[in-house]
């Protein structure tokens, strides 16, 4: 294929063959600050409004302001969209837009492209004043072609300057127009989207962005000789589109939670940005505490006083909350804790995805601290699980942890608009007189459950304490009392587990290989399993939502497969390393828990590359495993 440095008619003739029919993966990358994300988010929203399935992954630079035209500077977005439901980020992109020739390398490192990926590249660098830049551009161009990308050089800056004075802020909307042409997006919807995006800006800004959109569209129509129309689909029900952090925020509103107590930490913080805008309209407030310990302490105070609160954090913050989680479990305070997992250990990879906090949530607190733990696998679940978590927390008088991750947090996905119902919302606090003679921890022998008095309730006065205590709430050093009360607290998990159903299996109920996953990998795993099953592979998958207690019946399910393996985004030792063997291998986190639980020799496949898993990667692993099982 040839490249053009002028706005002549492009010569690309070949059709773009997507990995899967009826869908495409597009990436837009630019220097941080050039608005690639806004462009992509708008494109995703437009596609969702056209009824298409959509999944986005944000490409976020780790530095606040990395030097431009570098790998570190790459900021952008991937959009996978198509005429059916899209559940994950997919494999390599079919098409990408790059605002300079350096930023794509950030994604090349992540193996985001393949031979044949179309690259729409800003060509202004070819004629830059700086010799150095010119050379960089030429070198990269050669490299791209060597990698088999189909590069189309596009005079974005030149074209934009025909419309506006400075192209830096605006090029993104021109690109959006270009993409709208390529994928045959409905321009009316696109224009409305722009109006929405810039709704707080002056009318002039909206106008010029609309012109840019049209400009990009027209230029593409005139100059590109290919298109890949994605069929719009009829929307059968009302849909919403948002990212996981927004969904968590919506869930908080829907749970009727009035206090979100937090300390900023990536990638959890944007939930509080969302809430800061709207929770006050819902009779709630955000409390930004002085640190994570105070944040959870404040939340526990609020919960104790009847206003069940939520605290939101990520790994390093979670580490600080352990002591208070222990108190909440011991004092039986309902509380919702959201942990948006990021790359660890320590500060780690703050903007990248990992599922590395599972064990820390399950076992991080000294002493016996049963904590109900669930993990959302989709953005929709981010919403519904918060509602559920608040209910469980209050019914079981316990802290509940909801795990999400950086992938869910920033990814966008359409899902059916939740039908708001009254039962989701926490009822007003009970201030009626407490029944005299009933103790503040009147544990039910069979279930471990008890009702709690709320300050303000006459007759209910008691002192909550982290010390071992009797059912009256009094400190007790009696050995038998400690044994019994610890058992009550533990029993609540068994009681809760009895309300759960065994998880559903995706695929056959027996076979060669069963994949177990949890959290944001759901879509990628299921898609990979479907692909391999389509080739005749005997593989099924199962995705856990409850991690503590685990959903029931796992051992029976596992026993129907020759091999069981978890797929997770966290660390496990590689058995092919000479120093690693079966006796010293450290397993993935869920695999470890399931091994202890079921005594099945559960293998794991995982990595800590900070990236969502692509179906292709999983497909390869599945094929390999199936082959080995045959041998």
């Amino acid at each position: 294929m040839s490249t053009s440095t002028s706005p002549e008619k492009s010569t690309v003739k070949e059709e773009i063959v997507p990995s899967l029919p009826g869908e495409h993966i597009v990436e837009i990358v630019s220097d941080s600050g050039e608005g690639a994300q806004k462009c992509g988010q708008s494109f995703a929203a437009i596609s969702a409004k056209m009824g298409n399935g959509v999944w986005t992954v944000e490409i976020i630079p780790a530095e606040i302001h990395p030097p431009s035209r570098t790998i570190e500077s790459a900021s952008g977005i991937r959009i996978r969209f198509g005429s059916t439901k899209v559940t994950n980020m997919g494999d390599e992109a079919e098409l990408m837009v790059a605002l300079n020739e350096q930023v794509p390398y950030a994604r090349i490192l992540q193996k985001a492209y393949k031979e044949g990926t179309i690259m729409l590249l800003e060509n202004k660098w070819a004629t830059d004043q700086s010799e150095h830049i010119k050379t960089q551009y030429a070198t990269a161009l050669k490299d791209f072609e060597a990698r088999g990308y189909k590069v189309i050089e596009i005079p974005m800056e030149v074209e934009c300057l025909k419309i506006i004075k400075s192209a830096r802020k605006g090029k993104n909307m021109w690109v959006l127009g270009m993409l709208c042409y390529i994928y045959d997006r409905n321009l009316d919807i696109a224009k409305n989207q722009i109006r929405h995006t810039f709704r707080t800006k002056p009318e002039a800004v909206i106008e010029s962005n609309l012109l840019l959109l049209q400009g990009g569209y027209d230029w593409a129509a005139d100059n590109l000789d290919f298109q890949y129309p994605i069929k719009p689909m009829e929307l059968k029900e009302e849909m919403v589109v948002m990212n996981g952090n927004e969904a968590v925020g919506m869930g908080i509103l829907a749970a009727g939670i009035e206090v979100c107590s937090m300390y900023p930490i990536t990638p959890a913080t944007s939930t509080s940005h969302f809430l800061a805008e709207c929770i006050e309209n819902s009779g709630g407030l955000i409390h930004q505490a002085e640190d994570e310990i105070a944040a959870i302490g404040f939340a526990i105070g609020s919960s104790y006083a009847g206003k069940t609160a939520v605290t939101i954090t990520s790994g390093p913050g979670l580490a600080l909350k352990n002591e208070f989680i222990g108190l909440a479990a011991m004092g039986e305070v309902p509380l919702v804790i959201v942990d948006v997992q990021r790359g660890g250990p320590s500060t780690g990879l703050p903007t990248k995805v990992e599922q590395g906090d599972l064990l820390a949530v399950l076992y991080g607190q000294p002493g016996d601290t049963p904590v109900i733990t669930m993990a959302a696998s989709t953005i929709e679940e981010c919403f519904h699980f918060i509602i559920l978590a608040r209910k469980i927390a209050e019914s079981f008088r316990t802290p509940v942890v909801v795990l999400t991750d950086a992938n869910l947090a920033t990814g966008q996905q359409p899902f059916p608009r939740p039908k708001v119902c009254k039962e989701w919302f926490s009822p007003p606090i009970d201030q009626s007189p407490w029944k005299q003679g009933v103790d503040p921890y009147e544990w039910d022998e069979a279930t471990g459950l008890s009702r709690r008095p709320i300050p303000g309730q006459p007759n209910g006065m008691y002192t909550l304490t982290g010390l071992a205590h009797s059912k009256e709430g009094k400190p007790s050093y009696d050995p038998e009392n400690n044994q019994r009360t610890t058992a009550y607290r533990s029993k609540k998990l068994a009681t809760f587990k009895n309300t759960l159903k065994p998880p559903e299996i995706h695929g056959d109920k027996e076979g060669d290989l069963l994949i177990v996953g949890w959290g944001s990998t759901l879509g990628a795993i299921d898609e990979a399993v479907d692909r391999v099953r389509a080739e005749g592979g005997s593989v099924s998958s199962l995705h856990l939502r409850f991690l503590s207690p685990l959903e029931p019946g796992l051992k029976e399910i596992f026993s129907c497969f020759k091999k069981v393996m978890t797929i997770e985004i966290n660390y496990s030792d590689d058995v092919s390393d000479p120093v690693i063997n079966n006796d010293n291998r450290r397993y993935s986190q869920l695999a470890w828990v399931l091994r202890a639980k079921t005594l099945v020799d559960i293998d794991c496949y995982s990595n800590v590359e900070g990236q969502p898993l692509s179906p292709r990667k999983i497909v390869r692993k599945l094929q390999q495993e199936l082959e080995q099982l045959k041998a």
């Binding site: 919403v240 302490g297 526990i300 982290g466």
Partner: protein, 317 residues
Amino acid sequence: MYGLKPDILVDLPEKYFCLTDYEKVAAKWCPGCGDYAVLGNIQKLCRDEQLDPAKTVFVSGIGCSSRFPHYMKTYGFHGLHGRAFPVASGIKWRRPDLHVFVITGDGDCCAIGAGSWIHAIRFNIDLTVMLFNNEIYGLTKNQTSPTSRMGTVSNTTPRGSVLPPINPMQTTLGVGNVSFVAQTVDWNPPHLYATIQAAHRHKGFSFVHIIQRCPKFQSDLVEQFTAGKDKLYLLTGNEGVELDDVVIKSFDHTVEHDAHNINAARSLAEDPDNIYLGVLYRNTKAQRYDEYGVHNIGYTVEQKMEALNSELNKYAV
């Protein structure tokens, strides 16, 4: 009522709370511990102010003094070491109807709790805070605390501590938005009572520094404190605490002090030689975070549903 104190009447008018409505189990501090006096006076104060025990919450950390809530027949929260402030703030923020007291020790507040202490002062939520300063870690048995005087011999500094103490009043007065700072001693019950009363009545974060005797581990301090009557100065002035004349006369010295003058307050707090009892500082205009905390309280479920729907609309496809 025939000159009888209501406490000893059998038939009480509805909703009148007697001392016994606040008294729970017998406290288990050492004999002579200053904590007893505070407990008794707080119970009295609750009675006199007729605080509904069901609407009253005592929040503490961990330490001898932090056992306090267990001895009150009100709601209580005996939480974690150093973390009483955030818990109490979380309780009060959306529950303006509750009377929230904070009980903390010098280790609890000034060591592990220092960060939250500073911020609680700034938040200026309507909490009545009593710092029991016995200048030692009591519960863990005799370790030097940040408020221990230089040279303190304890289990962790057997050759004497090497740093000058943190002065809790000085530090509190150094935080912007400070609202109320007072000082009293456990062994002068009327003054103790009146000071805590003033603190309770002040709207905002009312910080009472209680010099507390710990005969168990700071027995020389007891003498120093109690013998040193002539080191005790009673603060008088408009913004002082309400005291009987007898009490006032029991002091050798009084000092006229304007509690609105922060510089004067600081000088008193920092005087190395004398102890000033009463309200050192009071600022009723300081911003209150709990006023913000309750500005939108009490939405109905219907209102919340509406807000959610309108938010969902923004994300509708």
